[in-house]
């Protein structure tokens, strides 16, 4: 296993270098100096700004600098559009709000959709199963944005108008930004984060239920299930003890592959609900051509992505003794 791990790590080094190179090249398609020029700028102004941003350095030197930051994990470069703040500070500040949406959303979605998928597999081919499959296909065919808009309208706006229950915030209250700890969980989170989490759960349920149902159906035709049935084990025991245990492998894999997205956050949700998370921050950085932030964020995302894929492989081998890493 160790040789496998080392070989995989070695293979990912050129891949990672490629990612950094690619993102630097793509960013340089547009000229950030142009957007930062004062009115009636002279050639001298242009050169000054270019030097100030460090873009007068040769490309290789810029690449080396990014590599240094990634290797030493010290994102100390100053952000271009937030003067006085380093990229590391921005990242630290935005990671919390992202996790406050993505972690509960992932937990709710997985628990709910595995349960629903089990029910669906239980009734396989009969009416409840067909209804569930149909609902998930119908739900998958509607845009995420529509769920967000209608969710906000009905759950927050109409609900307050009709019942007078003021559960979800409609506008932003600047006082909430400083709240932390237990108070955050009990007051701010339900008011500002619960609705985005629910929306995200509803949208993700369709995809996940379908996948988990396919896994369960596949699993239910295996020999050991037939054996268990022949032994006279009750149906619920077959479903929840025999089958669920074996279905854990694909479930773990799927959950593991979504782990990097916990950090990236949901661009759409964060943008629409005005949550200052990683996704929103990256969008702002892309729009204002803030190269240091975009580069550092992408570098971190990619590193996490590669790490989780490796972890998934190892986890796979640990859960399933038949899998050998070689």
């Amino acid at each position: 296993m160790w040789t496998y791990l080392i070989r995989r790590l070695a293979w990912n080094v050129p891949v990672y270098l490629g990612i950094l190179l690619f993102i630097m090249i793509v960013l340089r398609v547009r000229d950030p100096v142009f957007a930062r020029l004062p009115k009636n700028a002279t050639e001298q102004d242009k050169a000054d700004i270019r030097a100030e941003l460090g873009l007068d350095q040769p490309f290789v030197a810029q690449y080396r600098d990014l590599l240094r930051q990634v290797c030493t994990l010290s994102f100390d470069q100053e952000s271009w559009s937030h003067p006085g703040q380093t990229v590391g500070q921005i990242m630290k500040r935005s990671i919390g709000p992202s996790l406050a949406i993505t972690v509960p959303a992932l937990v709710f979605t997985t628990v709910l959709s595995v349960t629903v998928a089990l029910c669906s597999a239980w009734f396989r081919g009969r009416l409840p199963d067909r209804l569930l499959v149909l609902t998930s296909v119908l739900g998958m065919s509607i845009s995420f944005l529509v769920y967000i808009i209608l969710g906000q309208y009905f759950a927050a706006f109409r609900m307050r108008e009709i019942t007078g229950i003021d559960l979800f915030a409609i506008s932003y209250d600047p006082e909430v930004s400083g709240v932390g700890g237990m108070e955050f969980v009990t007051t701010v989170w339900p008011r500002y984060y619960l609705l985005p989490v629910l929306t995200s759960v509803v949208v993700a349920m369709g995809y996940d239920t379908r996948f988990y149902r396919a896994v369960m159906v596949e699993e239910s035709s295996r020999d050991y299930i037939i054996t268990a049935r022949a032994k006279g084990a009750p149906q619920w025991r077959i479903m929840f003890v025999h089958m669920l245990k074996n279905a854990m492998i694909p479930i773990i894999t799927r959950v593991a592959t979504t782990l990097p997205f916990l950090i990236t956050g949901s661009f759409l949700l964060e943008r629409y609900f005005g949550i200052p998370g990683m996704g929103n921050q990256l969008l702002l950085a892309v729009e204002s051509l803030d190269f240091p932030v975009v580069q550092a964020f992408t570098a971190v995302f990619a590193a996490l992505y590669i790490a989780t894929i490796l972890l998934t492989d190892i986890l796979y081998a640990l859960v399933d003794p038949r899998v050998r890493l070689s």
């Binding site: 990912n12 050129p14 891949v15 990672y16 490629g18 990612i19 690619f22 993102i23 793509v26 960013l27 398609v29 547009r30 296909v137 119908l138 998958m140 065919s141 509607i142 845009s143 995420f144 944005l145 529509v146 808009i149 209608l150 309208y153 706006f157 996948f211 396919a214 896994v215 596949e218 694909p250 990097p260 997205f261 990236t264 661009f267 759409l268 943008r271 629409y272 990256l282 969008l283 892309v286 729009e287 975009v294 964020f297 992408t298 995302f301 990619a302 992505y305 590669i306």
Partner: protein, 419 residues
């Protein structure tokens, strides 16, 4: 593994009734898209022109009384201001905010007289505290409703009577109502079919073509070719898809890409598009293709590696066939089902991603699209107006649902082992 040319698989597909219906639906969408593209029965100008008052409900439903008054006020004020111009005749002749309808052929004094009549009725209704309430209450109801009907008749008197041929187009214009800027929702939604089908087809074909080429080469030749291609797709696959899409779409949306493509092809692009370089979706196509080619490439590479070891390919090698012939005649047909399935998957991904990108301001820049329509409808929904979000979602829902059903059927028929 089932080859796409096999008639047994096709018979199985044809027995799958939902899939056949889905194919017909897709064919209709493509036909509409082609008819808009080729004949131009809806032009970009039609979709951006004002056809009447803002937020009119569809199916000829009457808006609530207050909005009917607002609409009458809008029309009367617009024409009144035109009559006050230095050259009123010319200003009135140039009035275009009624869609396919025209102002009646009257002189300025006659217009003024009729507008004064509108204001008479309007003022009478405006004296009520709440028109909506008054129109509902049993005492004042009949009188208010009669007043509103009179208002509508007097507004109608400013316009030319609808001709036989014009009435069909007028019905279409107002079929699903108007948006916040008084533009026709139906025309915009139908024009968006063209946009969505173009995005789905072009990016699907591009991504599948690139992915297939790369996957075949990597899987068949192995060695350094495989190393380079695997490195390339690992690199792209290690950046979360949505991040890659957003960064690419923004970087290419500056217009430099279109301009340089036009330069490289010697002005070909401008000639084809008739001088409208800013309305291309090239940045969207390119960023989607760069993001989406990874999926088909990975699958086809794996399949090619398996096929390469099969006896019939080995036999063909022994018979001394060339590499190109082997790849094109023996390997390619056996991965064609994967190409089809991946195309179908990418079509859905492209149409749905367009909505997200358009909301973020990185998708379609000029002209309508379902994504733009949904994004713009956010504020209308808060006022309880659902026609725009409903129409865009409905049109998109049917297309995406058809593709979802088709993809499932294709997977069942051609790739049954896939989970």
């Amino acid at each position: 593994m089932t080859e796409i040319g096999s008639s047994r698989a096709w018979r199985k597909f044809l027995r799958h009734r939902p899939a056949v219906i889905a194919s017909v639906v897709i064919a209709v969408y493509v036909a509409v898209a082609l008819s808009v593209l080729l004949t131009g029965w809806i032009t970009l100008e039609d979709t951006s022109a004002r056809v009447g008052p803002a937020n009119l409900p569809g199916f000829g439903l009457l808006p609530d009384p207050e909005q009917r008054m607002d609409n009458a006020e809008w029309l009367a004020e617009r024409i009144e201001s035109l009559c006050d111009r230095a050259d009123p005749e010319e200003a009135l002749a140039g009035f275009r905010d009624l869609g396919s309808r025209r102002l009646a052929d009257l002189n300025v004094d006659e217009f003024r007289r009729r507008i004064d009549a509108i204001w008479d009725t309007w003022d009478r209704l405006a004296e009520l505290d709440d028109v909506n309430e008054a129109a509902r209450s049993p005492e004042t109801g009949p009188e208010v409703r009669e007043g509103l009907a009179e208002l509508d008749r007097r507004c109608e008197a400013l316009l030319q009577p609808v001709s036989e041929t014009g009435s069909v187009w007028r019905t279409l214009e107002l079929l699903l109502g108007t948006d916040r800027q008084g533009r026709s929702i139906f025309l915009r939604a139908v024009y968006s079919i063209r946009v969505a089908v173009m995005i789905g087809l072009v990016t699907g074909l591009l991504a599948v073509a690139i992915g297939t080429l790369a996957g075949l080469a990597a899987g068949y030749f192995g060695g350094i070719t495989d190393g380079i291609i695997t490195w390339l797709y690992s690199t792209f696959a290690s950046i979360p898809g949505i991040v890659l899409l957003i960064v690419l779409a923004f970087m290419f949306s500056g217009g430099e890409l279109d301009a340089s493509l036009n330069r490289v092809t010697g002005g070909l692009l401008r000639t084809v598009l008739g001088g409208r370089l800013d309305e291309t979706l090239i940045p969207v196509y390119i960023s989607f293709a760069i993001t989406f080619w990874i999926g088909p490439c990975r699958v086809i590479r794996g399949e090619t590696m398996k096929i390469r070891e099969l006896e019939y390919v080995q036999a063909a090698v022994v018979m001394g066939f060339g590499r190109m012939r082997l790849l094109l005649r023996h390997v390619l047909p056996n991965v064609s089902h994967l190409m089809l399935i991946n195309f179908s998957l990418l079509f859905i991904a492209a149409v749905k991603s367009e909505v997200i990108l358009s909301y973020l301001g990185l998708g379609v820049q000029n002209g309508p699209s379902w994504g733009l329509m949904i994004s713009q409808s956010g504020q209308e929904v808060m006022k309880g107006f659902f026609w725009q979000i409903g129409s865009a979602t409905g049109f998109m829902f049917v297309l995406v649902l058809a593709f979802n059903i088709l993809t499932d059927a294709l997977q069942d028929v051609f790739d049954p082992k896939h989970v």
